[in-house]
Symmetry: C2
Subunit: 443 residues, 2 copies
């Protein structure tokens, strides 16, 4: 038996909310964590931008530096934990760490989504561990669950709420009767949304996370560019109310990847959608995240919990540190790849272009309230070969225009897009159409 | 770098529903599974009781034998997969496999709950891997989630629905208006309950599983004898209806382990309980299982899915086979213990004796419908220092006796037991009392 190590040294890249939470949790639960590692863990150093900044929560003994070399070239550091976020310099530092033979734990969804192949090939080449649990779903161990726990399954479908900001806003509109603007302000006040919330609201954050989960679940690279993307802007409180009353549905911002039955191609999208109230994700509210996975053997499995915040993210980061440190302690780190990225690709499916993806739709039109308006609208749907399943109008609405809600059977995105363009050319329809997906099985 | 293996050989102990499902799934998803292992997997042999029995689902090439030595002493077998169930001879075979240096995957909750320490000590001694995902929660990777994914947390509370049979019966009574007897027959007809359903109905199955989850979550041995146990017999459809209408609750058979705030002691119980409709486990219906874990960093995390059946269990078993086979392939199996059982025990809490556990209660009394009956009942509760939070009577009930439902604030089990004995000594109360726990936070 090779000798076992008594101490494993860790360094942090970044000491923001997550970095500090990692340092604090490591200290708070040190005994527990070290007993699980089987060796002592030393948090040796942390790379920051501003060395002078006060960090009252930081345990004593951690060297705080603004010199990347002091961390990345320190031969005593075994594990580099990247919690800076953003593309650069995070990616450059990660590469440098791996090239130097350091094992890596990262929460950086943007870098992973963009540089997936490069990171894992480099890690394989240098025989280092790369663990990524904290990049998706906060404290929910969903990466591990899909990568390992469900590894015997052919995954058929992945449906997830993986952006806490949009979920908080949609829940606020649904439960507290808030307008979109009010719910967004509320999210910002609670620290759940950035001053510039575009990255969350327009879906790019969820896109990065879906690229990561999809790449694991389907054993093939899913790129951000492959994902059909629509954010949640334009959804009103009234839309949510109508979805509830008329359709028995909640509105959620969903990240979905599914294998198309007809030809096995992969449909990947981040879109707002209606879910029936008894859907497993319908009750995932507020800043919570939920990941629903369908495998051919296991059926449907749901994972849910807090999707963001210092505590949950630190929980995931340290779970990964424990994995790697255990390996380091007994001298097997880098031997079993955490993500089997480099194996023969047994599933290489075509990824369906956005406009070929088929969905059911729930469409809000702004129509002039006059006889024949509905007939003209129905005609346009028929002309685009889209079958209508129901139509609802909010009777309380007064004025020259009324919102008309049309739900449809399954149709390709392209047909729907062209249909909306044609609808808005009608003299009785105003250009304010909202298109949501309707995740209700056809009868 | 040590050389890597090209082939890993697996043998099954048992070819019942689960064993056959494992063999079939291994065959069906072979390419996928082997790509995740990084080596080929050979299902070499299977130990059965009756060699002559027809097994049309079994892939060709598997040697079926009734001679334990042909499997356990075969030097070519790397991994022994035990899916026989029952205490013996399963435990004897498991020991023999481990003593022979074979790695082990087991779904056997009874053996694990009883022989936990012996199995893991022996495994450590012989440097072999022991993986146990399929022993709890069917296809839900909850063992891994608690053991690894949440390993950075001090677990505060674990609440779970981990017996599909009782959950199916309670759901049938709640949703389909079935009587207990009808729901049980229905479960038996669907293969969800045994001809002798005692093991499930009386809670022993859930007890074994809670002993396993508790031993992992709390870093200390939780034994079956430590668990306060009550099955679901005696619960009527009417009780479930009243719980819903009067309390806004569903009735679930819960496995719970929680750290008592006052002194850090551990309360462990398998009991029927009322859960509010918005509780994360309230929607876990039918044969589904759900595991809700509260950690100090992560908050609440829920895992749910199919808790039994060939497919889900095979999914968990093969997930474990992949872990072990990956380790075998690169020569590191047995080096990192799957369960850190043998480390310095940082948490060694007193386990609270059953009658000292405090719960809120929901009590059904059968009372004679006459003036003063309720006053006498209330008096007895007060005499036992149990505060009543509400009282409900089913007004539709006719006849000389009526069910009276009393919900209480928190009180020790002993006080409740003595209170029930005193109540049943009242001339106005008949001896047919049902005591459920009320998992609703006190206001």
């Amino acid at each position: 038996m090779p000798k076992t190590r008594k101490k494993v040294a860790v360094a942090l890249l970044g000491l923001g909310t997550v970095g500090l939470a990692v340092a604090e949790l490591l200290e708070k639960n040190r005994q527990l964590i070290e007993s699980r590692v089987g060796a002592s863990l030393e948090l040796k150093s942390a790379l920051v931008r501003d060395k002078a900044k006060a960090r009252p929560g930081l345990p004593p003994g951690v060297v705080v530096t603004d010199d990347p070399s002091a961390v990345l070239d320190d031969p005593e550091v075994d594990i580099v934990v990247e919690v800076m976020g953003g593309f650069e310099p995070a990616y450059a530092y990660l590469r440098r760490a791996i090239e130097g033979g350091k094992h890596v734990v990262t929460a950086n969804k943007a870098v992973l989504a963009k540089h997936w192949d490069d990171i894992f090939h480099l890690a394989h080449d240098r025989s280092v561990d790369v663990y990524i649990e904290a990049s998706v779903g906060g404290g929910i161990p969903c990466v591990q669950a899909i990568n390992d726990g469900l590894a015997a399954n052919r995954i058929e479908r992945l449906t997830a709420i993986i952006n806490g900001t949009t979920n908080y806003i949609l829940t606020g509109m649904a439960s507290n009767g808030q307008s979109f603007e009010k719910a967004l302000k509320d999210a910002q006040a609670h620290g759940y949304a950035e001053a510039d919330p575009s990255f969350d609201l327009d879906g790019m954050d969820a896109c990065h996370k879906l690229a990561i989960l999809g790449s694991i679940a389907f054993d093939q690279r899913v790129r951000v560019e492959d994902i059909h993307l629509q954010g949640i802007r334009g959804i009103s409180k009234q839309d949510i109310d109508i979805a509830r009353v008329e359709m028995g549905c909640v509105v959620k911002h969903l990240a979905m990847a599914r294998v198309r039955r007809s030809d096995g191609a992969l449909e990947v999208q981040v879109v707002p959608a209606l879910l029936p109230l008894d859907h497993p994700l319908a009750g995932v509210d507020g800043v919570n995240n939920g990941v629903l996975v369908s495998g051919d053997a296991v059926g449907e499995v749901l994972f849910s919990g807090r999707g963001a915040g210092g505590g949950p993210t630190a929980s995931a980061v340290i779970s990964d540190i424990i994995f790697v440190a255990r390996n380091v302690a007994v001298g097997v780190a880098g031997r079993v790849p955490s993500i089997p990225y480099d194996v023969e690709k047994v599933q290489s499916r075509r990824i369906v272009p956005a406009e070929e993806i088929s969905n059911r739709f729930f469409v809000r039109l702004t129509a002039v309230d006059q006889p024949g308006a509905l007939a003209a609208i129905a005609r346009v749907f028929a002309d685009h070969a889209i079958s209508i399943s129901s139509v609802a109008q909010n009777e309380k609405e007064k004025g020259s225009t009324v919102p008309v809600y049309v739900s449809t059977y399954s149709a390709p995105e392209r047909a729907m897009r062209e249909c909306v363009a044609a609808l808005e050319r009608l003299p009785t329809v105003r250009p304010n159409t909202l298109v949501l997906r309707l995740e209700v099985p056809e009868a």
